[in-house]
Symmetry: C2
Subunit: 405 residues, 2 copies
Amino acid sequence: MKKNVLIIGAGGVAKVAAHKCAQHNDILGDICIASRSQGKCELIIESVREKGSLKNEGGRLYSRQIDALDIPATSRLIEETGSQIVINLGTSFVNMSVLQACLATGAAYIDTAIHEEPDKICEQPPWYANYEWKYLDACQEKGLTAILGIGFDPGVVNAYCTYAVKHYFDSVDSIDIMDVNAGDHGKYFATNFDPEINFREFTGQVWTWIDRQWVAKPIHSEKQIYDFPTVGEQTIYLTGHDELHSLSKNIDANHIRFWMGFSDHYINCFTILKNIGLLSEQPVMTAEGLEVVPLKVVKACLPDPASLAPGYTGKTCIGNLVKGKKDGKDREIFIYNTCDHAECYQEVGSQGISYTAGVPPVAAAILIAQGLWDVQRMVNVEELDPDPLIKLLDTIGLPTQVQEK
Amino acid sequence: MKKNVLIIGAGGVAKVAAHKCAQHNDILGDICIASRSQGKCELIIESVREKGSLKNEGGRLYSRQIDALDIPATSRLIEETGSQIVINLGTSFVNMSVLQACLATGAAYIDTAIHEEPDKICEQPPWYANYEWKYLDACQEKGLTAILGIGFDPGVVNAYCTYAVKHYFDSVDSIDIMDVNAGDHGKYFATNFDPEINFREFTGQVWTWIDRQWVAKPIHSEKQIYDFPTVGEQTIYLTGHDELHSLSKNIDANHIRFWMGFSDHYINCFTILKNIGLLSEQPVMTAEGLEVVPLKVVKACLPDPASLAPGYTGKTCIGNLVKGKKDGKDREIFIYNTCDHAECYQEVGSQGISYTAGVPPVAAAILIAQGLWDVQRMVNVEELDPDPLIKLLDTIGLPTQVQEK
């Protein structure tokens, strides 16, 4: 039974996680929020206190300043705070250093996205093998619980795969993970999470799993219109995404693809920014001799994703279309969640994209604290029993629905 | 009779000017090219030698390094090089410092664009009054010849105004200056001269001269299709431009407007970049704490305008549609030049936009050297007799045509 949580990061997802941890601090114990900017941590704490999110009102909720790339400093912080669970919600560039700090201290490790190096994008599959999986043995030896990629996607959608296999199919032919945001933030152009990480997903090639092989395609080269429950018809594009890099190894299916919804306006803006070179992760030199990464400047110009929350309307829909056989017959289900931006804002002061990403790692922390997922090794989500997660999410804001086609 | 020319700047326009000066070095004497990057100056000199542009092959052609914002250093450079004529083709930010160096040394001053301050755009009219015209008295007292804005537009189009008044009209009602580039550089997106200066023209409001008053309008809010000679129908947009800020004072007309041609693709790219904030001249701070001006990063990502020249096809057309009365009757003429990108490249290794901007200041230098325009005061182009300019341009690459409507 582990307790006391250290949240690393102070963006929109960390804010949701802080609220959710607070709502369950009877199980999770002390909550420390640490990031490069302690001021941003304090703003989150103010929000948690304003909303009265702390279940155990006397529970400890406090902040620290940390550079999460500094492994010794992060290790000291874990020890100083007595944290037995670390929820890493910092930028994807810090995953490996936070994981090493957990290995040094024995604290359970949770993250929501694959590790990235600043100067590389859309890496060769399976991407996890380039970073996280190098520590599989170290985690095993140490008995360290490390749950990789437990946001919504990756994360809950990985559990949906296992859930479908466990309860609905004898064999699976194809899984199409589909993520659409039918919400409206009213801004000219904005990304719903860190623009830097967001754009890096789409500026290289699309790696997808077809006929049990990796296939590379150009971005936005394949699209379809899908009629989603609640949010209706949406245009979705074949894209690469974290979860394929582990599902391809762990799930027995012929095809596993990821689709994301984009409006024509998004595609237009993205295409122009990309073609001009403004989404590049490689530095350019200005005429004045300043070396700067264009993508970081685009990020600085775009709205802070957390600022989108007030007035955000509409819903997200994320789920898996699974096709296969059951009892000798064809079967097709869509297993999904819908999430309402305004309801999220009312509950935790954040929009739905942050909410869907921030609630699952807290669910994982609760399941570790309760011993249900304290597996003492490194796993991707589909390697765990999905049932406790699906059951818990039903009660803490992200209920699962299954549509039989 | 002045001689020896100092060219400040080493961009596309300076390259054309260097070639043209070389072609007339029997009149102009020594030619020194100076810029922040002496390497860029040397590349221009190599091009001049390759094309055999030096008329007097024994004439001096050399380079110096200079920070043109440094007035004492620029003054010393003018004296050291014995330059009696300075053609300022550096960024618009250096106009006032180069002018002051000319006042300190007595060298004639020529530029092709209005002075700009880095943190201001689309200034209150008349813009010249904010900078250059503050030195009208100083030039008068010193007997300094300073010719402002003698590129093509501003510049030749200002002379077209006077030329029309002198030869074609008793009274003028309206002048519409129209600038279109019907060429194709084959790049996804590029500007034809310094992107920074180019975009700064369009990111604020449009100042235009209507009913003898300044009127402010939003950018790209008025457009029309005009059927140009040679290049045919083109979509042009009402924009603000340098020349209106002096023509409004010096030319007796009810309306003076400036129109520029833009493709739908340009408008789309421009609108997205502008709305996102990437064309801002005001610095932003990246998440890493680096302060950077977005517009300078966009500039760094876009192709160097000089690099567009090889393979550039098509023509430019720039001219004045003038409406008024002659001998009691309505008259309407279009006085214009067309310029072919490929022919420019063949002659001087540059594209047509650089060519149309770079030839006129050399014409002005020749007219100063010949005593025809050595007026020993500060003037905008429309204050000078247009006939020697039009006649000279006919013979050095920018012939004028007049279409009677």
